[in-house]
């Protein structure tokens, strides 16, 4: 009956309750959609970046990340790779042998990272084959080279041309080869598109005089949530001179831009809820103050103050909860729809995304945490607002209250 009473009490002034519930409702929807867009795009950005560049984790030689030298290359036995593959949540392992070399066509020479790849595994991770704009993708055993379209332009080279690779191999040996361009790829990130070149891994190992060696093994996992678990498991298997880096260590710029964006989003939501909190507080305040006489009578006839405060607390929670329940129920289909139908961005924001090498698509998240947190925040607001009746009723003097 106390719940029934509280429920009836909040509808004493229908208009007011509808307005405050509606404001909570819209705030929750807005906050949910905003968070959904933010969290969705972060995981999309991270996933895209990991896929395109570093993987979620990377096994490297201990000093490779600073030196970028073939001398830090490593040898991983197939037994080791097999047991890595058996770790839960790991979806793919992609070996690469990466070294800078000079690429020349006629009189033009450019410095370029020439990367030895396993064509099939590269396909699994980066889908490099899909970026092909002309020619053919590498096959295992191919002797040709695939270069990015920007690099091709800089070299004034076209499909079928031969280019000369010159560089230093493992332990200072000379690396030199003449390679035929068998494919041209278009990479989304301009700095990559202007520079990258790919050859078959065994070919690279031969040219760089590094048989059986790689510079990195990129690891993709099923979900970023499992990163810690996988990282721990991989760590446990590492031998001397090997190290594992995570995506955030390898892409600090990405981490920073996500953190900044996230902070600004949270500040906005904070302001939004601050406004809402004042609205709810004002309503609770009026609801309490205008019933002073009634509280006085109830206390006189024997209703304890704690009990009156309890009823007021229920009222405060109910008022807030109506908005939250409908807000969450409303946001779930909205965010689910947006997740299923991501928004394709255009203009400035699209350019910003493209500069990060990510397709400009706004993806949404339906992580239950989003809805959970909005509910918690509103619940906390409700508790905060219930402080007013707590103090008001606490200080109530029934005789004075009834004289008013």
């Amino acid at each position: 009956m106390y719940f029934k009473l509280a429920w009836k009490n909040i509808w004493r002034n229908k208009k007011r309750t509808v307005i405050v519930s509606a404001s909570v409702f819209f705030a929750v929807i807005l906050a949910c959609v905003m968070r959904s867009a933010q969290l969705g795009s972060y995981s999309y950005m991270i996933d895209s970046a990991a896929k395109m560049q570093t993987g979620y984790l990377q096994i490297q030689g201990e000093k490779f990340w600073e030196n970028r030298s073939l001398d830090e290359s490593i040898q991983l036995t197939s037994g080791f790779q097999d047991s890595l593959q058996k770790i839960n949540h790991i979806t793919s392992l992609t070996p690469r042998l990466e070294a800078f070399a000079l690429l020349s066509k006629d009189s033009i020479t450019k410095v370029s990272p020439v990367i030895g790849i396993d064509p099939q595994k590269e396909h699994n991770m980066t889908e490099l084959d899909k970026k092909l704009v002309s020619g053919q993708y590498l096959q295992s055993g191919d002797q040709g080279i695939i270069i990015a379209s920007g690099l091709a332009k800089r070299l004034k080279a076209v499909l079928g041309d031969s280019i000369v690779l010159y560089g230093s191999g493992f332990h200072g040996q000379i690396a030199a080869a003449e390679l035929k361009i068998t494919g041209i790829v278009e990479l989304p990130l301009p700095q990559m598109n202007d520079a990258m070149a790919f050859i078959d891994l065994p070919n690279a190992q031969y040219i760089y005089a590094a048989p059986g060696r790689i510079t990195s093994l990129s690891i993709m996992i099923d979900n970023i949530r499992n990163l810690e678990t996988v990282n721990d498991a991989v760590h446990g298997m590492l031998t001397n001179k090997l190290t594992v880096m995570t995506w955030d260590e390898m892409m600090p710029d990405l981490v920073q831009s996500i953190e900044m964006d996230n902070a600004s989003g949270l500040i906005m939501i904070g302001i939004l809820y601050m406004v809402i909190a004042f609205g709810v507080f004002g309503t609770i305040m009026m609801m309490t103050a205008e019933r002073e006489k009634e509280f006085g009578i109830l206390n006189s006839i024997g209703m304890k103050k704690q009990r009156m405060i309890f009823v007021s607390l229920i009222e405060s929670v109910m008022i807030s909860l109506i908005g939250v329940v409908f807000g969450v129920l409303g946001s779930i289909p909205i965010t689910a729809y947006l997740k299923a139908n991501p928004i394709v961005l255009s203009g400035d924001s699209a350019a910003a995304w493209e500069s990060l090498g990510i397709e400009p698509i706004m993806t949404f998240s339906v992580n239950p945490d989003i809805y959970f947190w909005q509910s918690i925040i509103v619940f906390v607001i409700a508790l905060f607002c219930a402080l007013y009746p707590l103090l008001f009723i606490g200080h109530l003097k029934p005789i004075q209250a009834m004289r008013r």
């Binding site: 009473l5 009836k8 509808w11 009634e294 009578i297 024997g302 209703m303 005789i399």
Partner: protein, 228 residues
């Protein structure tokens, strides 16, 4: 042993610029089953006396003994429970919870007493029948006349099975016909339930319905007589 005993009660309000001596050294007792009017002009101290009698206010001096309990020495929390279980209250107006029906208003006090749902319902229905509102149980206060609302208030006061009922000018907001019939009903309850009623009034027609009339003047008992 008297039901209620006021001993050397005085009350001074210090909230105003000049302290007001609202009650001056009152000594009076009330017995079970009384039907007593506290009368006197406005400002004579009726409300102050009823508030002290009902444990809503503390006297500046003196003791109030109800059913062998000195309520002036009770802790506030215990006093609320004491009021709930020992005293029925009827005020001048705005007695009822506006969002609850007549029936729920009467049930409410028993809810506070943790009476079972079934018993609450039964008791409330019976009492509303008794006060002549058997057909208005599901009406909200706003759908009832002032007289009917006061009947509900009396029914609620009785529902807690108190030792006595205090009513501060229960007829003040009623027309004379409703006032008469409220008094009829209270008298009937007084007899039927052996319930003690102490009510204040300055309405001559109400006064003559009382069996005992205590007249206050200037914070003192001027007269205490039995009506014929």
């Amino acid at each position: 042993m008297a039901l209620i005993e006021l001993k050397d009660i005085s009350k001074t309000y210090n909230t105003t610029a000049v302290p007001v001596n609202a009650l001056k050294d009152i000594n009076i007792t009330f017995e079970k089953q009384e039907f007593t009017a506290i009368v006197g002009p406005s400002g004579s101290g009726k409300t102050t006396m009823l508030n002290i009698l009902g444990g809503l206010d503390k006297p500046t001096n003196g003791t109030v003994i109800i059913d062998n309990n000195d309520i002036t020495k009770m802790k506030p929390g215990n006093l609320v429970d004491f009021r709930l279980n020992k005293i029925g209250f009827v005020f001048q107006a705005y007695n009822l919870i506006p969002v609850l029906t007549a029936l729920e208003n009467v049930e409410f006090i028993m809810l506070l007493q943790k009476v079972s749902k079934k018993e609450r319902r039964e008791q409330a229905e019976n009492l509303l029948q008794d006060v002549g509102l058997g057909d208005r149980m599901d009406n909200r206060p706003s759908q009832l006349s002032g007289g009917q609302q006061q009947r509900v208030a009396v029914a609620r006061a009785l529902a807690s099975k108190p030792a006595f009922v205090l009513a501060d000018e229960p007829t003040a907001n009623l027309d004379s016909k409703s006032a008469e019939s409220l008094l009829d009903m209270m008298e009937e309850m007084n007899k039927k339930h052996n319930m003690t009623f102490i009510f204040s009034t300055h309405d001559a027609r109400v006064i003559k319905r009382a069996r005992r009339v205590v007249t206050l003047e200037d914070g003192m008992v001027k007269e205490d007589k039995i009506n014929k």
